[in-house]
Amino acid sequence: MSLHPVGEIEYVTAWIAGQLFGIPIKRVHDVFEVERITRVPLAPVEISGVLNLRGRVVTALDMRTRLGLPPRESEKKRMAIGIDQDGEAYGLLVDSMGEVLKLSASAIDGVPINMQREWAAISSGIYRLEERLMIVLDVDQILNFGKDTLAA
């Protein structure tokens, strides 16, 4: 399927509160600018609402809330990474998009044991880039929240 040499993974990267995160490109459906979000009453706090993306209803997930960070203050337009999970469309709200990086699969480091629990739970590893660290996000774990809170 992939034309790249074995051992290289492409990541879509994004900035959240000054930290760079990456998601394997094969998990990303699309990237879009968020225009109008409809709040969903009684929804779990992580969900900012629902929005219309070309006739499809997308559930928007605020990554800041998911990471236990305070909401962003600036009114600038937000970007979202579109994810398809079991036929359902989710949008992960981030502060801004980064570039697509091609990284070696073997260069990934494990999550440091002293990382905050909320962060560790949704991370699958860390890349040591030249200027900074990039946290690889585990999409399945990101979306694995509402079920617990609602069931409780």
Binding site: V40, V50, N52, G55, T59, E88
Partner: protein, 871 residues
């Protein structure tokens, strides 16, 4: 890759499965009507076709079985007695055929195995002229060749040629075998009919239809979006083509919906067989009637209700119907009846499952409800509330667990299945007479009309099926009041519990809109409630899209949709809201809710709501508000004339307009206010000049007037108003209003009306007279008793409850003590569980709210039909 053989096999499977279902049902019918040659011919043909096709595509096991079954059918045709055992044996054979087919479908090969056991029994039965014969000792498994075709014909057996001939004589398009035989000309003819049939129907996979539906839904959305854009530009060249696109889209939507429709009979197909087997197992005699099997509904809906329906029919057979002996003892026909009916009503499908069995045992339900903690020892909910409890999880009152319905799945599962598709379930039951379950479900789930409302600045969609009416909260006539924090609305003579949508959804508080809000009155099952919203924006056909799984736990929201302007809004789930009210209610006792739901304001006996209007003159006229169905305002331009009488198009029919006063006339232009009175399917509009007010007060009503159409007068806020007699005006619209209602026979039934209030006597007597009763109206129960003691005969008694000296309950008891078998119907302004149970203790046949004219006529009709049944 799929070869032609696989296509053939696939088609064979679906066709044969269908045929077997038909054979199942036809056999059950045949057992009841053994002399019906037509049914037998059909079964014969179907079984024969199956056999022929199996031979054709090389399925020896199926062919041998089908042949053996066919031989038995041949005996029936030759006049052998049709016994239950013989039919059972053939049915078992059909089951075996089905299970072989199922395996064939799964593995694409006929499973190995022997059907010698069945074939021996079938052959034995054919040999013995169909007489039942235990075949156990004759089974020698494995020694018999299934190649039945090759053995010599036995004495008395029908030859294959005979069968072929019989078969050819009844033309059937599905016949393949005959194409192999017979002369060329015939084959040609048959091919032609085959071609014709192929042109009329074709099989399409469900996936294809589903994909079409999804695309049409998207198209509807896009159309809505375009319409919204064009709406913003007053002059646009897109308008005309867009209108056409819109129409075509609507037609396409309807067309695709139609392809998803299936007759409900498909969900019933297995029931006759199930009921037959149950009847045998339980030793009961049961007849299953099916009405409206052709009623169509969405296949998605059909799939969901199939199991609940089967479960309920099983329940009726198992718990509802008594054994033949019990029925005979109770003076009922030994054969119990389960009646299934389906029909369409205002965008919904109504399915009823009725039995004439013993009815629900209220005492047992109560006991059980107390045992599992649904109600307290001291709670006495009304019967309808008690019935509802059988839908509670874990509720099953069966004394012994039978193999039939005691399987742990109860009515709660049935209810949740029906809830899931936005349906409702209700039940009525009469002790010793049977129970009726009515299920209301939407025609389709994909696209629904909805009301778009605004609450705290956010928009929500409310499915219209659940909405009964909209009430503007601003006007003083619709007063919202608070009982210890709980909002209620006085709506006509009812007290409606209200919920604020913004509170329900925990929306941020908005600055008060100054009381200018709306109440959306909703009904879910039997509970009626209102939700308060800030604004009602418009209605729109919405495409329901499921919410993502992370939002699925929110019971109040039933999905989301994209509006014409492109925004996503949430759809409210009426069932979820009703449940959330229930949850709030559980904090109090059930009893308190029952009281709250039904209790009108205290002193209601003397207060009443009157609608005050002007017509023909400056003086005010008034009519009890509860008699008015609706207030309307029409444009005078809409008025049409039919043989000189004014009419107006109203809700799909023509409604005659009658002046409320001889001097009143239609307005010359502009708006014309109307009071609409509806009875059944007919409405009459009363022309008035102006609606002045709605007053709710203690009123002194003076009765008596010489003028037709006027009952009396009352002083309202210092002015005298004439009270009009609705019963006078209604027949002016339809000459036959109230006719067809009187009981059969030339003799009018005699009815005694007892009420200490002259107003009510004069209000009701004309209504009852018009309905065909010979009415004697008396002011006191003592007088009435005196008359009865002196030998006066009445067919019905209608009595007020709240009366001085002797009240209605005591009166009814006194009547009973004098062994008068006359049905008594109580009228009261206070209806609650206590008074209803008291009325039953007093031996009353019915208990109806005052002003509920329709309810009263209904109760009388019920009582009359019970009388005639008993006679």
């Amino acid at each position: 890759m799929r070869g032609p053989m696989e296509d053939l096999l696939k088609e064979f499977l679906s066709e044969t499965n269908e045929s077997l279902d038909v054979v199942d049902n036809e056999l059950v019918r045949f057992e009841q009507e053994p002399n019906n040659a037509e049914i037998l011919g059909r079964i014969f043909r179907l079984v024969h076709t199956i056999k022929g096709t199996c031979g054709f595509i090389g399925l020896p096991r199926l062919e041998a079985l089908a042949h053996a079954a066919e031989t038995v059918m041949g005996k029936f045709r030759d006049g052998a007695p049709v016994t239950a055992d013989a039919v059972s044996l053939v049915l078992v054979t059909i089951d075996r055929l089905k299970s072989i087919l199922a395996e064939l479908e799964a593995t694409s090969a006929e499973p190995t195995g022997s059907d010698g056991d069945l074939i021996v029994q079938l052959e034995q039965m054919a040999l013995d002229d169909g007489a039942p014969q235990p075949a156990k000792d004759q089974i020698t498994i494995g020694t018999l060749s299934p190649q039945v075709l090759e053995r010599p014909l036995r004495p008395g057996e029908v030859s294959l040629d005979d069968l072929e001939r019989a078969f050819r004589e009844t033309p059937g398009p599905q016949d393949r075998k005959s194409q192999k035989r017979g002369d060329d000309r015939r084959i040609g003819e048959r091919r032609e009919t085959n071609v014709n049939n192929a042109n009329q129907t074709l099989r399409v996979s469900v996936d294809t239809v589903e994909r079409l539906m999804t695309m049409v839904s998207e198209l509807v959305l896009t159309r809505n979006q375009l319409l919204e854009i064009v709406r913003r530009h007053s002059e646009s060249e897109f308008k005309v083509p867009l209108q056409r696109l819109s129409n075509v889209t609507a037609e396409l939507q309807e067309g695709v919906m139609k392809t998803r429709m299936q007759p409900i009979g498909n969900a019933w197909a297995k029931l006759p067989r199930i009921v037959r087997d149950l009847a045998q197992e339980l030793g009961k005699d049961i007849e299953l009637e099916m009405h409206g099997a052709e009623t169509e509904l969405d296949r998605q809906v059909l799939d969901i209700i199939r199991d609940p329906l089967t479960h309920m029919v099983r329940n009726s057979a198992d718990h509802g119907l008594e054994t033949a002996e019990e029925r005979r003892k109770a003076g009922k026909p030994a054969k119990g009846t389960i009646r299934l009916s389906a029909y369409q009503e205002s965008g919904q499908i109504v399915i009823e499952i009725a039995d004439d069995g013993r009815g629900l045992n209220l005492a047992k339900i109560r006991r059980r409800a107390i045992d599992i903690g649904l109600i307290g020892e001291d709670d006495h909910p009304a019967d309808t509330q008690l019935y509802k409890l059988i839908f509670a999880p874990g509720f099953s009152t069966a004394e012994k667990i039978t193999s039939v319905s005691g399987r742990g799945v109860g009515m709660d599962v049935v209810k949740s299945n029906i809830d899931q598709i936005g349906g409702t379930i209700d039940l009525k039951s009469v002790q010793g007479r049977g129970s009726t379950f009515s299920i209301r479900i939407p025609l389709t789930l994909a696209i629904v009309p909805a009301l778009i409302v605004d609450s705290a600045g956010e928009r929500f969609a409310v499915p219209q099926v659940a909405v009964i009416e909209l009430v503007h909260r601003g006007s003083h006539a619709n007063l919202v009041e608070e009982i210890n924090g709980a909002l209620v609305l006085r709506l006509r003579d009812k007290l409606l519990p209200l919920l604020s949508l913004s509170q329900l959804l925990k929306l941020p508080k908005q600055p008060d809109s100054g009381g200018d809000s709306f109440v959306v009155v909703m009904q879910v099952g039997q509970s009626l409630f209102g939700i308060v919203v800030d604004d009602v924006l418009h209605t729109e056909e919405i495409v329901v899209k499921p919410v993502s799984s992370s939002l699925r736990g929110i019971k109040i929201l039933g999905g989301n949709t994209i509006l014409g302007d492109g925004s996503v809004i949430m759809i409210l789930d009426p069932n979820g809201i009703a449940q959330s009210i229930g949850a709030a209610r559980e904090e109090g006792t059930l009893e308190s809710f029952v009281e709250k739901e039904a209790a009108p304001a205290e002193d209601a006996l003397k207060t009443m709501s009157l609608l005050v209007f002007r017509s023909g003159s400056d003086s005010c006229k008034a009519v009890p508000l509860s008699l008015v169905t609706r207030l309307e305002e029409i444009d005078v331009k809409q008025v049409e004339y039919s043989s000189g009488r004014p009419m107006v198009q109203y809700r799909g029919g023509l409604m005659p307009l009658i002046p409320a006063d001889e001097n009143a006339a239609l307005a010359a232009q502009g708006k014309q206010p109307l009071l609409v009175f509806t009875e059944g399917s007919r409405s009459v509009g009363l022309i008035v000049d102006q609606i002045v007010d709605i007053v709710e007060d203690r009123l002194e009503i003076k009765v008596g007037s010489d003028r037709p159409g006027i009952i009396g007068s009352a002083v309202i806020r210092g002015q005298t108003a004439e009270i009009i007699d609705v019963a006078h005006f209604l027949p002016l619209g339809f000459a036959d209003w109230f006719q067809g209602k009187p009981a059969q026979g030339a003799e009018k039934p005699k009815l005694l009306l007892v009420d200490d209030s002259a107003f009510f006597r004069d209000m009701l007597a004309p209504v009852l007279q018009a309905a065909g009763y010979d009415v004697t109206a008396l002011a006191s129960a003592r007088d009435a008793l005196l008359r009865v003691e002196r030998g006066a005969q009445f067919d019905f008694v209608v009595t007020d409850i709240e009366m001085p000296e002797l009240d209605g309950f005591a009166f009814a008891e006194a009547l009973r003590a004098r062994s008068a078998q006359v049905p008594v119907i109580g009228l009261s302004s206070v209806i609650n569980s206590a008074s209803v149970s008291k009325s039953r203790q007093a031996g009353m046949r019915g208990y109806v709210a005052k002003f509920d004219r329709r309810g009263l006529l209904h109760a009388l009709k019920d009582a009359a039909s019970e009388l005639s049944e008993a006679a």
